[in-house]
Point group: C2
Chain length 436, copies 2
């Protein structure tokens, strides 16, 4: 693995940034090694549908090797990178040491709890496949436990679901959760308690989806409330405990389930490896995406912070994809003796789905709501999924849910829970769901 004639490009992270960088380097005179701790690429924009029991795990994930199969100069290594040595130019982890000529770090991001006490410990993050499954398990288990819980207070807490953060993920998950519980679940649990389910969405500022045009924000708010989501604006969380979420105005909402979608920060590994990071855990890079003083090292995706940019770029898939492509092209330019070019983000717009027949989209200055926006959202996400089979299965599942008011993916799978600061505790399979 260390003998090579052509320059070697090591890419750490097989998310959107890393994968598109690898694809862009496919026909170039380099050896590419893509490293990830998982053997699959996750389509994170649909992760909330895993948590809402709409889609199955395999449908939003795709084996990385299969994606790369037809790219002869691109190889894959499943390994957990433990260290990057920028001076010696090598990546280390799981007993392997990989020297590189060029490095692209595409580590992505983790939840940002802004130091709110208890949030890292008790709130459910929603950033990885296993966190999505753990949240789904917790929600479905709560519904099962209600059935044999004698105390009314506890039953109420089990059926109160609080989502922190009124950005796209918070809005999408709140809508999907409301539809899950008020639709398919109520059918299956013929208990009066299920009429009292509460889905509460907390947003710190005075509007949902800040940044979108006023009309879309208003539509989103009205629509969510019509769906039975209790939206509380200017509600700032001061503490999360095992039994409640506390707001700065003194309100206490008893709940077993706090979902944290309020913040995102660069993967902490970057800091641990000695890279200079911003307050948000990102690595400051040049406009060319290169790390200052290390022209052979690029940062792309959620981890990248472009110094001196007009305003910080959103931490979303399109930015990561475009940066992955840019970094790859810049490496090709360097190899050809040319200067790397600065990254320019082409913002194609924003789409957020709320529920059945309801979404907002803001594309190229054109705002649209309702059924049309919803169909647009579905089409764009379906089109961008990797793999024909996955697209087919997602399409069938969506159609199924739509026509039969059902949810397909309702198993409480024997997984470790991912509650608490991205760390994973595990539960015994036999009674795990009931002990959580």
């Amino acid at each position: 693995m260390t003998v090579h004639d052509r320059p070697r490009v090591v890419i750490v992270g097989a998310g959107f940034g890393g994968l598109w960088a690898a694809r862009t380097l496919a026909a170039s005179p380099v050896e590419v090694l893509l490293v990830d701790r998982n053997n699959y690429h996750t389509f994170l924009p649909l992760l909330y549908q895993i948590a809402a029991a709409e889609l199955e795990t395999e449908e939003i994930a795709y084996p990385t090797r299969s994606i790369l199969r037809k790219l002869p100069n691109v190889h894959f290594l499943m390994a957990d990178v433990k260290r990057v040595d920028l001076v010696a130019r090598r990546v280390e982890g799981d007993g392997v040491v990989i020297p590189y000529d060029f490095l692209i770090l595409a580590l992505g991001s983790t939840s940002h709890f802004f130091g709110v006490p208890g949030a890292a410990q008790y709130a459910f993050p929603l950033r990885t496949l296993e966190q999505g499954i753990a949240l789904r398990n917790h929600i479905l288990s709560s519904c099962e436990r209600v059935v044999h819980e004698p105390e009314a207070d506890k039953r109420r807490r089990m059926l109160t679901f609080v989502i922190v953060g009124g950005g796209p993920t918070g809005v999408e998950f709140a809508g999907a959760l409301a539809e899950l519980i008020r639709g398919p679940l109520v059918k299956d649990y013929p208990l009066p308690d299920f009429q009292e389910v509460q889905v509460i969405l907390l947003e710190a500022v005075d509007s949902l989806l800040p940044g979108l045009p006023e009309r879309l924000r208003r539509y989103t708010l009205t629509r969510l409330r019509k769906m039975g989501v209790e939206v509380r604006l200017e509600a700032r969380v001061s503490q999360v405990t095992a039994l409640a979420v506390h707001l700065q105005d003194g309100t206490v909402i008893p709940t077993d389930t706090v979902v944290w979608t309020a913040g995102v920060r660069g993967d902490p590994a970057a800091k641990a490896w000695g890279l200079p990071t911003t307050q948000g855990g990102q690595v400051a890079v040049l406009h060319t995406l290169q790390v200052p003083n290390y022209p052979e090292v690029y940062i792309v995706g959620d981890l990248a912070y472009i110094e001196g940019g007009e305003r910080p770029l959103p931490m979303v898939a399109p930015v990561a994809i475009q940066q992955g492509v840019r970094a790859a092209r810049n490496i090709r330019r360097q190899l050809a003796g040319q200067d790397p070019l600065p990254f320019r983000y082409r913002d194609r717009g924003t789409m957020v789905t709320i529920g059945r027949n309801a979404a907002v989209s803001h594309l190229g200055g054109w705002a649209c709501t309702g059924f049309l926006a919803w169909v647009l959202w579905l089409s764009v996400h379906l089109f961008n999924l990797i793999g024909f089979r996955n697209r087919l299965f997602v399409l069938i599942n969506w159609a199924w849910d739509y026509f039969f008011f059902e949810r397909a993916a309702r198993l409480i799978l024997p997984l470790g829970t991912a509650r608490g600061s991205e760390s994973v505790q595990s539960v015994s399979s036999k009674s795990g769901a009931l002990q959580t």
Copy 2:
């Protein structure tokens, strides 16, 4: 939950026996409570396809509540039953105490290691959904680890897969595994080592599939060998270690993967709860499936051993289904003041698939092999799956695999491993697959 006018039938276990008993009691003047530790019913005959990366978890499991939705007198409780008190007539577990008028125990079975040293600790059982996923994770992780393993001995061990037991499960899994590795995996790992993969099937007696006609047994053996499975007959395992499987004749086969399909015994909970059990962990019952001295308690499925029967019944789904129906009907007879009837097994035959276009079937004395048997096998299994959507997805996956020589379900999911005597250890998500 304790107030009821109609007699209450409690059924423990939502496998084939328990589920069919519940369905049979649907229109009867009883309240039925079906209790299971999982919220889904698993279609175990296809479990080996989970382990062989052919099917996705959700496709062979179905939420129990949804199955029961249209049966108004049948309720479901997700709970881990910890104790059954036959004298006080109640079931206890997870903080609930459930009195019953009639009880049907359908606990099923676990792997039987026959006291072979190390087997319970190091071999992979294949009896539950999570064991299926854990085995798949282990196999796919082994293939990933080979890529960066410098020592040839270790690489060879990682690519040697030993299956113990030449019954239907062992044969089906050996065939599926050989096709997985020599087909889709070889395409994705362009390494010489992958040409040296060994799939070894060990059977203690002198034939595979004992009990089937000679012609079918011979066909199975020839076919498996043609597919590259190394079948060793009269190979008795004397020990399993972390690094090898030892045979009684002194042979040592270095391997990281021993799959145990050689034996099955009644769920040990029955013994722990004080029920009198046989050597095989089953509970001896009357011909009517009632427990001696407890006419209101029935045992069905793998846990039941009918005293004085001509020969022990196989521990398979059709027996469990027919016994579930019989127990339910006998309870109805008791309520009507009639005597319970003895159970009679209607053996419809055996089908075992070996691989692409290859299966054996023995139905009503009619033996058949090859493509026809294979199509029969596919049809029967598809028809018996629960849920139209599951059937559709399984059909698509099978067609996909068949036409594209692919395998659909190849994610190494963040699950606990189930290696070692049905117990579950857990791994950290971040590097779990590599530490297993």
